[in-house]
């Protein structure tokens, strides 16, 4: 068969991995993210000091201070150690709300796409949330719920919901109009099976791609909330907090704010590069161009 030989016969998963590794940007993103995740998981083993272990004698020590590669902050805490410990909360606040938000949005978006009338009302409701700028809404919800890491994550999920639902809804509406959905109905497939068994994987890829692209902005928003005292409370280690604390000494010891700030930027860039790569890899037409 001529047609079958022109396309890759390998399972989609391998095609996707090779597509990501052959995309330089996505590969870079994957490596950076991998390092951060490694640091978060093995923090107790690799961090030279505890997150709040201080040596007041060496306060504001510059990078290169003996035993403290990246210097020390205003309380004399080792910045490298705080970065390593802080990667836990930073990644968690960036990734967990995004993942939970996508999970909640999947059924809502699918149902809204299937049932036109109910869907109209659901989207109308989401538009109300859309009317607020994302950061402002996050601040309002977090302030309403009270400070704390858990409440901050809840507020991020709520803030993200309209975006996630839109993405799922759009993908589901697109799928719903394809003939295979009509074919599923003809052979007596119950609506719940059509939505949650047959359509779900086809729609989830859109949600996954979107999620990877917003992890970065979630980390920034979470850092912003922590900065405002609504998220992680000092002396907790989190990159956003570290930037905030470094603010007061920015002119005498810029490295205290700059180093965690740089890490935040790297994380955001890595996530968006990886997101772009995943998007391309999930598109079979683009993937085919990578060759098998």
């Amino acid at each position: 068969m001529t047609q079958s030989t022109t396309l890759t016969l390998r399972p989609a998963r391998f095609g996707m991995l090779s597509a990501i590794t052959s995309d330089k940007g996505a590969f870079f993103g994957l490596i950076v993210l991998g390092i951060f995740v490694f640091a978060a998981i093995f923090a107790p083993l690799i961090a030279p000091f505890g997150p709040n272990e201080a040596d007041p004698m060496l306060r504001l020590g510059a990078p290169g201070t003996a035993g403290h590669w990246l210097g020390l902050d205003h309380q004399g805490r080792d910045i490298l150690s705080r970065l390593i410990w802080g990667s836990r909360l930073t990644l968690a606040t960036g990734i967990i709300p995004v993942a939970v938000g996508a999970l909640i949005a999947l059924p809502i978006g699918l149902l809204a796409a299937w049932y036109d009338r109910a869907g109209g009302w659901i989207l109308r409701g989401m538009d109300v949330l859309f009317a607020f700028p994302m950061a402002l809404l996050a601040i309002m919800v977090a302030a309403f719920l009270g400070s704390g890491v858990g409440n901050m994550m809840i507020s991020l999920v709520i803030v993200l919901l309209p975006y996630n639902v839109r993405v799922v809804y759009q993908a589901a509406v697109e799928q719903k109009s394809l003939p295979y959905v009509e074919a599923l109905r003809v052979v007596g497939t119950p609506v719940r099976t059509i939505l949650f068994v047959e359509l779900l994987p086809n729609v989830a890829s859109a949600a996954i791609v979107y999620a990877t692209t917003i992890v970065g902005s979630m980390v920034i928003t979470a850092a912003g909330l922590s900065f405002l005292g609504l998220g992680v409370q000092p002396p907790g280690a989190e990159w956003g907090i570290m930037v905030a604390e470094g603010r007061s000494v920015i002119f005498i010891a810029p490295h205290v704010a700059a180093i965690p700030g740089l890490c935040l930027s790297l994380l955001v860039i890595a996530c968006s590069l990886l997101g772009d790569g995943v998007r391309d890899a999930l598109d079979p037409r683009i993937r085919a161009s990578f060759g098998a």
């Binding site: 003939p179 295979y180 074919a183 599923l184 003809v186 007596g188 099976t193 047959e198 086809n202 079979p284």
Partner: protein, 281 residues
């Protein structure tokens, strides 16, 4: 003359067009199907020909219950489809299946062709090795190699996709199949293979077809009775020989002339012989 398997009376369907404006002032209703009667004898094919947008698919969708008619009724095997409900309705519906125009798009792209074929079986509680066995039998019946079950739709050819779609349509052992331009998306060389497969299956299983096409050439090959549609109405009906040899309506004459102008006189005996039936290509 036996009693028809499928009968439709006064079928009507309109769609809203235009966005309707804020107060619905701009809304119009467009008659897609405007009062159609038809009857199909068991084991035969009713061909339906007409230009794009004449309402052929809408008519077929109403026949199999994919959309509800605004007016009129569909009777299957003596039962008014609209009057049965619940389990009986599901039992009726599994007797009416569809093969769609675009074979690739009518299969779930993220499922293997085996999973696509097994979907109807699982819907009716057949699973495990029994579903596997029946899938393999259906694939063989439709000229597919069961070893291909693990492939994805985009990995096989259009003709093979259409065989998969036919296998899926037959999984529930229907008595009636609506063929909505089943070959118009395929290469001419593959068209004859699929049409011959459909004819073989009809003979073997006693299937009744409603065969839609905008290609008059295919009608005589496939069907005993023919309706010609124009703007939602039937403008001519008769046996396919009647339509082919002495079209009454000006529209049919035009259709026929355009076919004859495009190619030589059709030689169906040769067309049929050029393909060795449903053997795997």
């Amino acid at each position: 003359m036996s009693t028809p398997l499928l009968q439709a009376r006064g079928l009507q369907k309109s769609f809203a067009t235009g966005d309707g404006g804020l107060f619905g002032q701009g809304r119009h209703r467009h008659m897609a199907v405007d009062g159609i009667d038809l009857a199909i004898e068991p084991g035969t094919t009713l061909g339906c020909v007409g230009e794009s947008g004449s309402g052929k698919s809408t008519l077929g969708r109403m026949l199999v219950g994919l959309i509800e008619p605004d007016e009129g009724s569909v009777t299957f095997d003596g039962q008014d489809v609209a009057k049965v409900a619940g389990k009986e309705r599901a039992a009726l519906r599994r007797n009416m299946q569809v093969v769609f125009q675009d074979p690739l798009l009518s299969l779930n792209p993220r499922r293997t062709i085996g999973q696509n074929i097994q979907r109807p079986l699982r819907n009716y509680g057949v699973g495990g090795s029994e579903a596997e066995d029946r899938m393999a039998r259906l694939m063989k019946m439709c000229g597919l190699d069961p070893a291909q079950a693990a492939r994805y739709p985009h990995e096989i050819s259009g003709g093979q996709c259409q065989r998969v779609a036919i296998a899926r349509a037959l999984a529930l052992e229907p008595r009636f199949v609506f063929l909505d331009e089943p070959v118009s998306a395929l290469d001419v060389s593959v068209q004859a293979q699929i049409l011959n497969l459909l004819l073989d299956l009809q003979a073997e299983l006693g299937l009744t077809y409603f065969f839609v096409t905008h290609d008059l050439k295919l009608i005589e090959f496939m069907s005993q009775q023919v309706i010609v549609m124009l703007k939602g109405s039937v403008v001519e009906r008769g046996t396919s020989a009647e339509i082919w040899q002495s079209p009454k309506h000006a529209y049919t004459q035009n259709l026929l002339r355009s076919v004859l102008r495009l190619g030589s006189t059709p030689d169906w005996a040769r067309f049929a012989a050029s393909e060795t039936s449903s053997v795997i290509p």
